[in-house]
Symmetry: C2
Subunit: 194 residues, 2 copies
């Protein structure tokens, strides 16, 4: 099962979500069609399995063993996002790509939201920027509401999310220069939110 998910992830990462046929996915998974359909009974479930696997790999690659000190943690985090882009995904976030390929799928939308919420929460926690939660599956809106425009750490997690998302999307266009720009924004955010 782990092997199947890994193969599916690689196949979708390489060919996008529209092109690879189920037979291509079978080859990538390294099993027969029958067993593939046993664990993932439809093509859309193959997509979900692939993203679930990628979610775990992304969290491990980006957030594990970060430095303790907030500023260093943020620099390391953004560097690792850049490394992830360079080695894993040439163009954009795979989760957004999956949703874009099938906007009507509700499970896909929920998976994207869970993924991004957890990324934002972990980033906030690691950098000491308003990271309160990460309690179970706090998927929905945090009912933080609009702090009007208070400069407190209220929306700092969202600002962090903006930086990470921006880096992920800008990297294919600007490469490592995007990493430097993201780090600059991160430093500015931290020094403003002390």
């Amino acid at each position: 099962m782990r092997k199947i998910s890994a193969g599916l992830e690689q196949a979708f990462a390489k060919g996008g979500f529209a092109e690879p046929s189920v037979e291509d996915l079978r080859d990538a998974a390294g099993v027969s069609l029958r067993t593939l359909y046993k664990y993932t009974p439809s093509r859309s479930e193959m997509v979900l399995a692939a993203l679930e696997h990628r979610h775990r790999r992304y969290l491990a690659r980006v957030f594990e063993d970060l430095p303790q000190e907030p500023a260093a943690a943020l620099e390391a985090l953004l560097s690792r996002v850049g490394d992830w882009m360079a080695s894993e995904t040439a163009h954009g976030c795979l989760f957004h790509a999956a949703v874009a390929a099938d906007p009507a799928s509700q499970p896909l939308r929920e998976l994207l939201e869970r993924h991004k919420a957890e990324v934002a929460a972990r980033a906030a926690m690691a950098t000491g920027l308003g990271g309160a939660g990460l309690g179970g599956d706090s998927v929905g809106v945090d009912s933080v509401g609009a702090d009007s425009r208070g400069e407190g750490s209220g929306g700092a997690e969202t600002a962090l999310l903006v930086i990470i998302e921006g880096l992920t999307q800008a990297w294919p266009l600007r490469g490592d220069e995007a990493v430097l720009a993201a780090k600059r924004l991160g430093r500015a955010l931290q020094s403003a939110t002390l």
Copy 2:
């Protein structure tokens, strides 16, 4: 032709790039199959025509008649991006969605790069952050190279791109809170690059 492009854009914006069949696109365009294929001889060219149209509309909606003063211009620009997201596109950037749906298409990739390059250049120009160019189609890498980590306005345009891209991707998840976060980052960037 303009009417066809507009209809195609609406169809792809609503249904994504995978789902709508050519007959759906024909209905959206409001012409017959024959004339549709006359102006856009294949489905992939329909995608290109739709994105070309959206490109023009986006530039008009976001960049026209911005305030002169840099800080006010940046605030207005980010507000307009938020308004655009709210009224036009529920989830993410349509250009990235198109590339994700067909990663192998070279023309699509080039269109994405042209679009983003022009957005970044205009934003830099409007906010007085290192906006040098916008000369013709300066698509490629600007050969700015890595300023190492100089805090000069060298990569300010890229930082601006990171903010805009981040806002575009984070808006579906956080709504107007993302706009506030983007504005905060923008102010921090401007005050650091004076």
